[in-house]
Structure formats: structure tokens, C-alpha cells
Symmetry: C2
Subunit: 554 residues, 2 copies
């Protein structure tokens, strides 16, 4: 047996010190299983980036060891990196029916077909030689969400996934407290638990409370109702459909991901859709305004979403009009506040009535608040605890919550992506690191945009650029054409002709002052042009455009 | 007398459908006075822009009519555009002592010296021929804030400025309810009132509540205390100094604007600074950690602020260390949430304890909530009402609040920047528009960055650029040098040599396929290069860099 191979290792590849991109590898006796495989959305400074996925170098290096991926639920931050990871490591994927339904849809879009999807029922155990992986039902803002218990001969690891406690869930699928308590009684070696809402005291309200508020709103509405929410929040969709049904309204589904989820969830039986209630967007004209509900994407103010397009009158088939009632059934995710606010303003300006978080209780979180977290800790009673799914502030405070409940401080392990946690029956410690970080996806490129490209994009975004081209004679070393100057994103050229003329003069002058020898050293010439121009432009404008000198030789 | 010249006109030049950049012109009998002259901070899509100021074309066209500027208080969104406006219209400026103290400091920084600053006391009246302008004390998050009543022979206009009601203000300067009620009883023609917090029910807490919480926090602290807050919140600074004094700590002031405000406010008597309590940052080493409080800028997570630099260990003189207690005594302004969160994470990672809005009541707003607004409406009892200082959603809801209080709907006037409101004793209507909008300030340039430059910056920020240079013989029309390709912000060139080589081949090929005649039509050639390259690059990368073809002739 190889050295160290019998250590039980937890290798977080995403989701620590960040919200999103959740992915955890568990390695034991030369086998690796993976819990979740999510993406995150780019930070503001990741200019032009589409999505961010985890660095899986460690898994690629240990490719033969990787046995399976287990998914806790079907949100993008738990499944969104699959199309990229599966292209490199094609292992079986285990998850509940809805989760895999969403995965299948996504992978087909990416034209990945040789799938090994294994549907699991909550309560079921999957044996993978050294691991026995158990799915345990929890509540969350998507149906069919599970915690995962990994049974090993070293002990039990318990990963909550994303969860909240809902004693009156819409689908009546209660969190499996009994089994969680039972596992807790057996003795759990390590708990990994969702930290997203650790700063919020009390408990998250039941999804059902939203339903009764929606009912009231629907009951009072006279014209069209437009409800924006997260496409994946199938329970919310169900409640909107229920309210529509109650008030004899037809339902139009708008926005690509909304159409997708309604399709998948409806087909798999997660949405109860009354016969004939769904109508095509093109048939809206056949109904009175009081007979219509439109369910749409765009609750985060995303500029290209259906709601934003309706609000800006850029939607081909649907325009918000005076009298419409728009319900934004979601809270802005941090960072999206201004986008959401902009859409709300546009909707009001178009004469719609708008109901949003500041005005009514029409959204609940999908994550456990402090009292729910405490219950989880009390039931699991773990020996060691590693908070997951949160920024550093959340992880730290979740650790403090565990200590408050009686856990010795040294048994709380605040990790970070790539920090390998070695667990033994009586000890847990960080030992070594795996490569980890953000792999940026931009168009077809995966990982080809790095710091240099981003630095240049940032520079260009702030001050634009100036290109200087000059053609030099190979023989005489003299300027034979140019200098020509082109700028973009710097100043409005037509109003800055003087500046441009003077810039040309400065370049010409500095080149003319060069000796014959200097004229042959292009790197010297380029730096000269850059320096002279930079100083001149900064003095005149207090701006620093990127300067690109190009020298041609004929 | 000229036609229309006896109309009383309100011309909002900023502050409607936006938070910030407050500026209102009032025109009557060929005279114009201005209330406030503020800036706003750039929206995300205003790439590279430093600040935004109002369009004052209308004032420049009517320059001779402009008689004075009246300032309600010293916040940037009320005084920040003065340096730019005064360069074009130099009229007397009226304001309270602290307001003008801050203005003077700012104008000196901009090297504007020929100032006509007129200090006014709250309660004082300024006669400007057709106008009598009265300053009335209100509460706000800066001392010396006033509402302004403009008395004319047509009636009284009442502008609240920014306000809240604080029955226990730190400086004991109570809002002048008596005078406000008196003016209300005389009959107010038009009320313009702050709408910022109209979505919040109830009333804003007194600034004093923050003091007692700070006291408690200071009392329990063992090591250094670092408090970040808005520099202009002099009452907050006073309370921090009070708590420091109570617990025998010295105070270090950090951050440029904090140093400025403490200087100005201290000098003018708005800050009571106990003898010897302020120490220089360089003398910190002479004290124990338990004897120090640092007051700093950076409560909004601004990347270059003192707190951000301390948290990132980039501050020359001060580094956050384990055991430090950092209090962020401010709420994130919408749009700043992620920046603030990042600083909080960094502070925690450096081992500091951090107290912020989610964890304690250490901030109160400076703006009136619903019940306070209602009191203002009840006291003023205006005939007409135009909500100001808010996005459209706020203006609309403030209008609804007025209707709820009994105002006829037709007397509520939801305006927008540039929409001229004509007021008569028995009517108020929008009639005509003045030029209005955002003038972008970038470096020394005021208004030279417009939509084209921003569109280019945006394009560059998302996909970077590719410059293609080719030199063509004037005589033969043949390529004599190039095509050369340079890219920035597009792909990492060293890893994309194939792509670049192929791009060159494509350019060369398309040029070689051109006829002699086509080779002389540069616009044709440039478009050809753009089209061919765009298609090729999009197919290979699904990205759309800006393509800049440059043709040189020798």
C-alpha cells in the first residue's frame, strides 16, 4: 500500500470564501468521489467573462481515482460546471430525479451525450467500494434537494448541501429529521454545512407564506399579472400556478430558462399543471387582461432577461403596459441591487404597478438561518466541523456558532479552496494543498483569459487606447509613412483634432531626434513613443489610455 | 415686459429619477436662483468616468438672469458640481457656516479663488429682488442642514433639501418645527420634498442611538478600535470622539477626506475635540493598542480608501492586525454591497473582529422615512407637490403618500430633470423642457466623453481588441509590409499563436483576392478585413474583439 493512501482527505475545490462554484472532492484509499460541480458568476472585475468554474487540475492528475460525482441539487452553483468537467472526466453522476433532469437538459445543450446518469431516491445508499453514499432529503429553494452522508470505515462525513428547514413544504416532502438524527447518533466524524445565511438570526419562513401573499395579490389584481422569479424555484412556480388557477387565469411562461424548467419539472411530475392552464405567448390576444398571468425570468434585473426586455419595450411579443401588475418574487442577490432597481423604475415609468421586496413579503430565502443551523448541529453532533458555502465572514461566523453550541474551538476547521483536510477518527488537520482557483470561461475559451488579459481589458475600459503606426525604411531608417494615430474609447476624436495633431507631432519629433542607431532598435523606439505620448496625454487630459506603438518596415 | 417672463418656473436640472446630482433652478420675472449644485457618482456602465454633473446649458443660455446659488447642506450630491459650474457662472453662494466651510475647501483644491461666499444663519432671510430666500433648520447626517423657503409674490415654494427628524440631535440644533408650521399656515404653493426613504415605514432612529451602541462596543474592546464612517457625518465623528474620550483612548484620523472634514468642522466649532485627544498617525507607536481609536474613510469599501488599504496591507502606516476591532458605522449605498463585503472578508482574514450592519445597530439613515415625511406634508400643507431626490419609484411612491394624506391626485406633479414646471396660484403644469442630463467628468475632460467613447470602452472591456496593420505600395497597390497583428484583452497571445497566425493568413488572403481597383479603396479594404476577421474569430472563440484595421501607404 502506498504511503498516505489510507488517509481520508477532503479537498474543497470551490465554495469556500465565495458564494458559488461549489465542489468538494473526497479521497480515501486511492479513490475519489466528488460532491457537486458548480459554477459561479463573474465578479465585476472579470470583464467580459461569462462564467467561472473550479480548477480541477487535482482531479485530472488523479483521474483514475475519480469514481463518481454526487449532486445535492440542481442549482447552477452545484451543477453548472458539469459540461466542462465531464469533457475531461467522464464518470457516473448520481442525483435525484429533478436534479438529473436539469443536468440532462444542460448537457444536451452542450452536445454531451455519452451520459452516465444514475437517478437516486432520497434515502437511498450508493456503494462505491470504499464509500457508501447516502442521500438524505432536505428543504431548499428547489425540489429534490439532498444532504449527502458519506459512510467510510474511518467514520461518517455529512455534507448538508444547500438547505433550509420548511415544516410545511409545498411538495410535502419533509426534511428527513429522523434519519439525520439517526446518523447523528451513530457518530459523525465531520460535518460540512451551508453557511450562506449564518448572519441572519431566527429561522427562514416557509415557502408557503409566499403563496398566501401571492394569493392575496392575485385576488386584488384587475389586469395582467407578471411575476418574475428564479426559474429553478419550482415550488414558487407551483404557487404562482396555483394562484393563477384559483383566480381563473391562464399562464404564459416567458424566458428561456423559465420555459426549460417548466418543461423539465412538468414532465418529471414536480409541477402540477392544471389541464389547459398554460397557453402560448402568441395566444395571449385571445384572452382579457384579467385572465392572464405571465411567469418570467429577470428577477435579478439581468439586462437580457425577458422582464428587462419587457420593461424596456424590447421584447418581441410582450410589452409592459399601464395597469399591469408586476410582482418581483425574489430578493436581489448582492451585486444585483442596481440592476433590479433600474428595472423597477422602468416598470413604474411604463405605468405598471410593481410589488417588490421593500413593499411586501413575496420571497423567502432557500438557506438556513441561525436557529436552523443550530438544529442541524444539534442533530448531527459532529466531532469536527468545516463550514462551507460562504465567504470568509460566513465561514468564520458559522465556526463561532458551532463553538457557541459547545464544540471545542480546535475542532472547527475554517478551510479554503484547495486546502486539503485530513480526517482521522481523533484528529482533523489541514495538510497540503491542491491547485484551486477560478477558471474563467469566455465564449469557447476555458481558462485562456488570465490576469494579463483582464488587466488589459480593465485598462481599456477606463481610458481606451491610442494606436500609433509608423513605417520606417529598412535601409535609411527614416520615416516613410505616418505616424498615424487611431484612438478608441479615449476622447471623441472629432472634438479633439488638435490633441491628435499634437500627439502626431510629438511622435514625429521624438523619432526625428533619434540617432540612426536608435532608429533600428524597435523596442527603444516603442518605449520612447509610449513615454512621450503618455506624458503628453496625461498632462493634457489627466487620462492614461493604453498606447500601442506599431512600427512597420519597408 | 417680455412674454412669459412673469411665470414662476421650477427647472430641475438634477436629482429627479436619480439619487444624486441635486440641482434646481427657480425662474421668475427674468431672474433665476439655484438651489444646490451637486454631483453624482458614475453608474457601472459609465466606464472610466470620475464623476457626473448636471447639464447647465439652460443656465448658460440665461446667464445674465442667474443671481445666486443657495445650498441646503454640504454633501457632495449638493455641492460637488460647484467647481465646474462656478468656472462658467460666478454668482454669490449662500449657505450655512459648515456648508460654506466645506465648499471653500473644495474650491481651493480646484484653485478657484474669486469666491463670493455668503454665510447664512438658519432662520435668516436673503432678499434677491424678486425672491426672498429663507433658510430653515432641519436634521440630516451632516450638521447645519437647512430647508429653503422661497417667498415670491406668486406664493411660497418650500424645498426640504435632504432631511430627517431627530428629536435628540447630537448638536442640540432641533429642526425648526415652529417656523415650518408657520410657513405652512401662511399657505405654501409648492412643496418639493426629499423622497430617498419613502419606501421605509416608520421613522428614522435618532443619531444618538448610534452613540450608545458605540459606547457599549468601545467599553468592551481590549485592543485597537478602527471605525469607518462617512467623513461628512460630523455628528458620528463627534460620537466616536466622545466614546474614545470616555474610554481614555487617543484618536488617529485617517483618509484624506476624513482629515479634511475633521479640520474644517473642528476649526468652525462643529466638532468638540477634547484637548490632546487627536494624535498624529506617526505617533501611534507611543501608545498601547488599548489606548487607540482610528477613525477612517472607506465605509463603502472604496478600493483606494484608507480602510481598504489597511485591510489589504497596502497602507503605508497602518495595517489591520489580529485583535483589532473594526466597526463599519455605515450601510452600503446600493451598488457598493460587494465592495463592502470584500473588505469585511479581508478584515476577518487578517484576524480582526468586524462589526457591521448585519451584526449591530451602528448606523442610522439621514433621510426621513414615511412617518416623518407625513409630518412634513401635514405641517407644510402645500397646494402642489413635486417629489424630488429619488429614483422614479421613490418619486411615484412619494406622490402616492401625498394623495393618501388627502392631496388631490392632479396636484401631485411627478417631474423629471429638464421638465419645466410652471406654477401659478391656482395651477401647476409642466410646460416645455430645458436641456438636462449627465455631463461626464473624466480627468480634465468635462463632457468630452459621450456615448461613442463609452460604447467603445464597453466593447473593449468585454472582448479586447485586435489591430491589423498593413502597408501598401502607392504605385503597385501591393502589400509591401504586414499584415501585422497586435491584440490586447482578447486572448493570451503566447497561448494563441496559431490563432494569430491564421488571422494573419486570412487578412493576407482576402487582400490578395482584391482587384487592383479595390486595393485603392481603403474603406472597402478596412471593411473587408473587419468582416473576414470578425467571422473567423467568432467562429473560433465566440468572442467579438474590436477590430481596428490600419492601412499605411508608401
Amino acid at each position: 500500500m502506498k504511503k498516505n493512501s489510507s488517509k481520508l482527505k477532503i479537498i474543497p475545490l470551490g465554495g469556500l470564501n465565495e458564494i458559488g462554484k461549489n465542489m468538494t472532492a473526497i479521497e480515501y484509499k486511492d479513490e475519489i468521489i466528488i460532491i457537486d460541480c458548480g459554477l459561479s458568476f463573474p465578479e465585476d472585475e472579470m470583464l467580459g467573462i461569462d462564467i467561472v468554474i473550479p480548477d480541477i487540475t487535482y482531479l485530472l492528475k488523479n483521474k483514475d481515482k475519480v469514481k463518481a460525482i454526487f449532486l445535492t441539487h440542481g442549482h447552477e452553483d452545484h451543477i453548472g460546471a458539469l459540461p466542462y468537467v465531464l469533457k475531461k472526466i467522464n464518470v457516473p453522476i448520481y442525483g435525484t430525479k429533478l436534479t438529473l433532469g436539469l443536468v440532462e437538459f444542460k448537457l444536451k445543450e452542450h452536445k454531451i451525450n455519452n451520459l452516465k446518469l444514475q437517478v437516486v431516491k432520497p434515502g437511498q445508499n450508493i456503494k462505491k467500494s470504499n464509500f457508501e453514499v447516502e442521500f438524505i432529503r432536505v428543504n431548499h429553494s428547489i425540489p429534490d434537494a439532498c444532504a449527502i452522508a458519506v459512510h467510510t470505515d474511518m467514520g461518517i462525513l455529512f455534507h448538508t448541501g444547500d438547505f433550509k428547514i420548511d415544516h410545511t413544504p409545498i411538495d410535502k416532502d419533509l426534511m428527513d429529521f429522523g434519519r439525520i438524527a439517526e446518523i447523528g447518533s451513530k457518530g459523525v466524524l465531520l460535518l460540512m454545512a451551508d453557511s450562506t445565511n449564518v448572519e441572519r438570526p431566527g429561522a427562514t419562513m416557509s415557502e408557503r407564506t409566499v403563496g398566501s401573499n401571492l394569493d392575496e395579490i392575485f385576488g386584488g389584481a384587475k389586469n395582467r399579472i407578471i411575476v418574475a422569479t428564479f426559474a429553478s424555484n419550482v415550488h414558487r412556480l407551483q404557487q404562482i400556478i396555483n394562484s393563477a388557477h384559483k383566480y381563473h387565469r391562464k399562464v404564459v411562461v416567458s424566458g428561456r430558462s423559465m420555459v426549460n424548467v417548466v418543461g423539465v419539472a412538468g414532465e418529471l411530475g414536480y409541477l402540477q399543471i392544471p389541464e389547459g392552464i398554460l397557453i402560448d405567448i402568441n395566444d395571449m390576444g385571445n384572452y382579457n387582461e384579467s385572465e392572464l398571468v405571465i411567469i418570467t425570468t429577470g428577477s435579478q434585473g439581468e439586462p437580457m432577461s425577458a422582464l428587462s426586455r419587457m420593461a424596456a419595450a424590447e421584447h418581441r411579443k410582450l410589452e409592459v403596459q399601464p395597469g399591469d401588475l408586476v410582482v418581483i418574487s425574489a430578493n436581489p442577490i448582492p451585486g444585483n441591487e442596481k440592476l433590479v432597481s433600474r428595472v423597477i423604475n422602468q416598470l413604474f415609468e411604463r405605468g405598471a404597478e410593481v410589488i417588490y421586496e421593500a413593499l411586501a413579503d413575496i420571497h423567502v430565502s432557500g438557506h438556513a438561518c441561525q436557529e436552523e443551523l443550530k438544529l442541524m448541529h444539534r442533530l448531527i453532533k459532529p466531532k469536527f466541523f468545516m463550514p462551507v458555502h460562504g465567504e470568509y465572514r460566513h465561514l468564520k461566523q458559522h465556526g463561532e456558532l458551532a463553538v457557541e453550541l459547545g464544540m471545542p474551538k480546535k475542532n472547527v476547521l475554517i478551510g479554503s479552496n484547495g486546502a486539503i483536510l485530513e480526517v482521522e477518527p481523533n484528529s482533523a488537520k489541514f495538510a497540503g494543498t491542491a491547485p484551486s482557483g477560478n477558471i474563467l470561461v469566455d465564449g469557447l475559451g476555458v481558462g485562456d483569459v488570465g490576469n494579463i488579459v483582464l488587466r488589459d481589458r480593465r485598462h481599456l475600459s477606463e481610458d481606451g487606447l491610442m494606436v500609433v503606426v509608423v513605417t520606417i525604411s529598412r535601409e535609411s531608417g527614416e520615416i516613410v509613412a505616418g505616424p498615424d494615430i487611431i484612438s478608441r474609447g479615449f476622447v471623441y476624436v472629432r472634438e479633439s483634432e488638435d490633441l491628435m495633431q499634437n500627439a502626431k507631432l510629438i511622435v514625429r519629433k521624438s523619432l526625428e531626434d533619434c540617432s540612426d542607431r536608435q532608429m533600428k532598435e524597435w523596442s527603444y523606439l516603442k518605449n520612447l513613443i509610449k513615454d512621450e505620448l503618455r506624458n503628453f496625454l496625461y498632462q493634457k487630459t489627466k487620462r492614461n489610455p493604453m498606447i500601442l506603438p506599431i512600427i512597420m518596415e519597408v
